[in-house]
């Protein structure tokens, strides 16, 4: 989401119509946007994520003009002999560029700021942080056409980067400049780095990193500029170029064509050709439930900035502006119609879809177990699935090296590095954070854990477990065994205990729980070492059950 900072006066000037703030707010809301903030004349607007063409005051005003039924200018391209040659060498690294020339700009501080802001925002959003699209803008007075776009070994070319005192090689730019470091990942694995070079053999820039000092900075006095977009997806570049050309023409500039010559093909750019589409009113009804005539449909399309070409009995043929990057399918047109119509003008309707309701058997069981445990005076806790080897194993006297678990990769939170494989340590954590509360503390948790399972497509299995802890000055094995018996007897589950030692229980005071010949859990008094590891000062008895095994859920 992009937040557009502008003033209400500027916007009204650009729209060319006097509107109230409330009208603006309602219109933006219908279009799927929000007036975030107003303070005096200053306004902030959240631009809807997919509409790259609205990322500028000019772009937004253009959309609003159409919405208010005002005519937008014709966007025209003037002929020229400007040429950009695309060398085969860029194929491997950044294969495409789309270029244009804009003349007779009358820039001021505001406009200059807006251009740089739009460049930045397009980089961040549609440009996927310069990976998909990088934009370069150059003052024409310091450039001599034709320009060549090529790639070379990064140690064999050098130029003075913008705002740096000395020349550097392509390689040095990635390690010595701040922008170079920030975007190094986009080039560093390639043998050759791309650059633009003019007829005087001056390097203009190394996309997508930075411009050269002599040729790469526009100021308020700049009248004519050379515009290029580089990347991997020709269509995305061409659309971005169009968005910029539309904006600069709205600012008063004249757009001139550039012939971009690939080894085998030439493109004359920018390409303002509008895509022709036909939409059936029946499709709109199928998607939205709206019954509208083709005439009404045409009106809504115009309101959404499309040019209507012809209206048939049950369909409309229209042209999509060449700056829309979010139209893939007729459903996207239906969406435009909804925005034009106003979604809150559609009457909600509940259809009859006859189905059988059902709750998962495991959730029914979990619910009943909760009922029993609450009756036995236990309070439920809900802890996190993401945790650490320290909490899951080390604090439980277990050797991390001998455990099988699903590790996390990079984590923004330093205290987590794995997905829990059992519940007891996490329930202990809840006990720990409530240790100053009055005793006894009787806690239980019925929730999911993740076990390694190489046979699954996700190399793991999500399982249901139950853990139960009693913390009191007198808590002991008898008490927790009473709970186990009451719980399992309530479900008529036959089980037996088998003496067994666990690292986290006091030796000789623990057992495994066996049902149907399978181990389904363990029970015991927690060892003083473990209790101390959790900084708790009262005895704890506990149990953990594998519910999936117990109920044969899987």
């Amino acid at each position: 989401m992009v937040k557009l900072d502008t003033s209400f006066e500027t916007l009204k000037d650009l729209i060319g119509k006097s509107i109230t703030l409330k009208e603006l707010e309602n219109t933006l809301f219908n279009l799927g946007m929000e007036l975030e903030e107003t303070s005096g004349d200053e306004i902030k607007i959240d631009i809807t994520a997919e509409r790259s063409d609205m990322v500028s005051s000019q772009g937004l005003a253009r959309v609003l003009r159409a919405y208010f039924g005002l005519k937008n200018p014709d966007y025209k391209i003037k002929k020229s002999n400007y040429e950009v040659f695309v060398d085969k060498s860029v194929d491997e690294v950044r294969p495409h560029t789309c270029c244009a020339v804009i003349k007779n700009l009358d820039l001021d501080e505001e406009k200059l700021k807006e251009i740089i802001w739009v460049q930045e925002k397009l980089h961040e959003t549609f440009g996927r942080d310069r990976k998909k699209v990088a934009i370069g803008i150059y003052p024409m007075e310091s450039i001599k056409f034709p320009i060549t776009y090529k790639a070379e070994n990064p140690t064999s070319f050098k130029f003075r980067p913008l705002e740096y005192p000395k020349e550097m090689t392509g390689k040095e730019i990635l390690t010595k400049t701040s922008t170079g470091k920030q975007y190094a990942h986009l080039l560093q694995d390639h043998k050759k780095y791309p650059y633009f070079i003019d007829a005087k053999k001056d390097i203009l820039s190394m996309p997508p990193i930075l411009n050269a000092h002599e040729t790469g900075k526009i100021t308020q006095n700049t009248k004519d500029v050379f515009l290029e977009c580089s990347g991997h997806d020709f269509d995305a570049l061409s659309k971005t170029l169009n968005i910029l050309c539309y904006m600069l023409q709205d600012m008063g500039g004249d757009v001139y064509q550039v012939s971009v010559k690939y080894p085998k093909k030439t493109f004359v750019l920018p390409n303002f050709k509008k895509e022709k589409r036909t939409i059936k009113t029946s499709f709109i009804e199928k998607m939205t439930g709206l019954q509208i005539s083709s005439k009404e449909c045409a009106k809504l399309l115009e309101k959404m900035m499309h040019d209507v070409e012809s209206i048939q009995k049950d369909s409309v043929t229209f042209l999509v502006p060449p700056i829309r990057t979010d139209i893939w399918h007729d459903v996207d047109i239906a969406d435009d119609i909804v925005r034009g119509f106003g979604v809150n003008n559609i009457k909600p309707e509940l259809p009859k879809v006859a189905t059988h309701a059902n709750v998962l058997r495991e959730n029914k069981i979990k619910s009943k177990m909760t009922e029993i445990l609450v009756g036995l005076d236990f309070t439920e806790v809900f802890t996190l699935l993401l945790t650490s080897t320290q909490d899951q194993y080390t604090n439980m006297n277990l050797d991390v090296k001998q455990q099988n678990y699903m590790k996390l990769g990079h984590s923004e939170e330093k205290s987590i590095n794995m997905v829990r494989t059992w519940l007891m340590p996490e329930t202990l954590k809840a006990l720990q954070s409530n240790r100053n509360k009055s005793l006894p503390l009787k806690l239980f948790e019925i929730n999911e854990v993740v076990q390694v399972d190489k046979t699954k497509d996700v190399l793991s299995k999500t399982q249901n477990k139950l853990s139960c802890l009693i913390c009191d000055s007198q808590s002991d094995f008898t008490q927790i065994k009473q709970i186990l018996e009451n719980l399992l007897n309530s479900f008529a589950i036959e089980f037996e205990l088998k003496t067994q030692n666990y690292e986290f229980f006091i030796q000789g005071r623990s057992a495994s729980i066996i049902s149907n010949g399978k181990e389904v859990g363990f029970i015991g008094e927690l060892s003083p070492e473990v209790i101390s590891n959790w900084s708790i000062h009262y005895p704890i008895a506990g149990l953990e059950l594998d519910l999936d095994a117990l109920f044969n859920i899987v």
Binding site: W328, D377, F382, D457
Partner: protein, 513 residues
């Protein structure tokens, strides 16, 4: 009336009332009534509830000498000792301290105190401090400092009786000179109503009242001749708590009930997912920002992809839209990227698994819901957790449109008791049209967005052979829970840090539909 009150009196209360004449303090009345202090205390509480007595708590502060205070009283305060060893000629500190025998800390405080009183004159020679007594100092030495005079009193003394408050404050600030103890006492006074009751006690035969109904009485039938002592049923009782279901569980049950009432079947799916099911399967492009490491927990493993027939179709819709009528993204889809394992970022991953694994395409209709945990790669701080629960429901049937999606959401909201709602068009890569649904919150006088929804794009359904429309909506469970329980912080709702006292006493939430 007063007879009824008399019947409620416990024997402790009777004893106390009988012993009480006008005003007394608690300990004294305990003694005269023959009650233990604790018994008298309880009797006081009950009697006060019945307006038969008034009680007043008093705190008396007593000042005692501390460890240093004791020795300073005997040997003199450090400044007194220091002053006594000064002459009219400048001396170095070690020279002065030879007899005064003060610790370094004491010397520091002493010099400060004496300077303030203008009792000494300090100079510096060859980097060493030298000190002599002033005439003012001489006077003080003869008379003794205010502090020394204060210590001469006999302790303990009642704080309220102290006259030289200034000196008292100064000494209180110094280490271990004075200690203040509190003596609590309770004064009890009989009320006019109490006096009336007291007068009647004499004539009342308490022996005919029974305190407790016993099994013995029931067995023998002796209860028939008994009158039971009346209880003050309005008296407060100690609070108790029992075991409770977690509030989040309660909200899960509520949401599950709503879906079941609306005829939905419950689903489940794995917490760890492949990128394929979490992202690619639903036509999220491989360069989408949602895949950033900053937002998603990746695991250092690669999982397995579903069978080729599905993969080929997913690849096709990504690249050129396949036969859906879509243009596709125009890039080369990379199956290797789709194998990457991650902590699922939304429950829609499970929805798409169901599309494929449950062969939804063969059915006339389907209505499923899911309540499950999802993850975001975020640092834990005061108000953020890296995981929370998502609720999601989808409906497939021929003829479903946007107005039906709106109809389901309206019904869902209504079942939560929220009736004033509106919709806003939004963007989502796998639904078109996508809608946010908000309700009007009267308390904050603002629209609150709780539900996100949409119609699944044809590109996202084609790989699973589904050609009927599917509408879906979802919401964050903790957000709903926070609104219902009026909490501002997710950490009060989810995780080990939840306050157990609240978990045992939270108010039950009922839907008002």
């Amino acid at each position: 009336m007063s007879i009824d009150i008399i019947k409620t009196l416990h024997r402790y209360e009777v004893s106390l009332l009988e012993a009480l004449d006008g005003k007394s303090d608690l300990e004294a009345i305990a003694k005269t009534s023959g009650l233990k202090v604790i018994e008298a205390k309880r009797a006081c509480q009950w009697l006060e509830n019945k307006n038969l007595i008034n009680t007043q708590s008093n705190v008396q502060k007593q000042v005692l000498l501390g460890k240093n205070g004791e020795s300073y009283k005997k040997d003199g305060l450090p400044e007194t000792r220091f002053l006594q060893n000064l002459t009219h000629n400048y001396q170095t500190i070690p020279q002065i301290n030879k007899k005064a025998n003060l610790s370094e800390e004491e010397i520091k405080i002493t010099i400060g105190t004496l300077k303030k009183k203008s009792a000494i004159d300090i100079t510096k020679e060859e980097g060493k401090l030298k000190i002599k007594i002033t005439s003012q100092g001489k006077k003080i030495e003869e008379k003794g400092t205010e502090e020394q005079i204060f210590l001469k009193q006999s302790f303990p003394i009642d704080e309220s009786s102290i006259k030289d408050k200034e000196t008292y404050k100064l000494l209180l600030k110094r280490k271990d000179i004075l200690v203040v103890g509190e003596i609590k006492s309770q004064t009890i006074e009989i009320t006019p109503k109490g006096r009336k009751v007291k007068d009647k006690i004499k004539d009342f035969d308490f022996s005919k009242l029974t305190d407790k109904l016993t099994p013995e009485m029931l067995k023998t039938g002796k209860w028939k001749n008994k009158e039971f002592r009346h209880f003050d049923v309005l008296a407060p009782v100690p609070k108790i708590t029992g075991g409770r279901k977690h509030p989040l569980s309660a909200i899960i049950d509520m949401v599950r009930d709503i879906f079941v009432e609306m005829g939905f079947e419950e689903m489940k799916g794995p917490l760890i997912e492949t990128s394929f099911w979490c992202l690619d399967s639903m036509w999220i492009p491989q360069d989408h920002p949602a895949r950033d490491v900053q937002d998603t927990f990746y695991l250092p493993y690669k999982g397995k992809l579903p069978q080729k027939s599905v993969l080929e179709k997913v690849k096709k819709v990504h690249e050129d839209g396949g036969d859906t009528g879509s243009k596709g993204y125009g890039y080369k889809w990379n199956p290797e990227m789709a194998k990457q394992l991650l902590m699922r970022t939304h429950t829609t991953a499970t929805t798409y698994r169901y599309f494929h694994e449950k062969n939804i395409k063969e059915r006339d209709n389907a209505k499923y819901f899911y309540i499950g945990r999802v993850f975001r790669n975020e640092a834990i701080d005061a108000t953020h957790l890296p995981e929370f629960h998502q609720v999601e429901g989808f409906v497939m049937q021929e003829g479903l449109t946007l107005k039906h999606l709106m109809g389901f959401i309206k019904t869902f909201y209504a079942k939560l008791g929220l009736h004033d709602i509106k919709f806003k068009v939004t963007y989502n890569p796998y639904t078109e049209t996508s809608l946010e649904a908000m309700y009007f919150d009267k308390k904050t006088n603002s629209w609150i967005e709780l539900i996100n929804s949409g119609i699944f794009r044809p590109e996202s359904l084609a790989p699973y052979g589904i050609n009927k429309p599917i509408i879906a909506w979802g919401l964050g469970l903790e957000r709903l829970a926070m609104i219902l329980y009026e909490k501002n912080n997710i950490k009060e709702i989810l995780g080990a840090s939840c306050d157990i006292d609240w978990l045992k006493t939270y108010k039950i939430k009922m839907r008002d539909y």
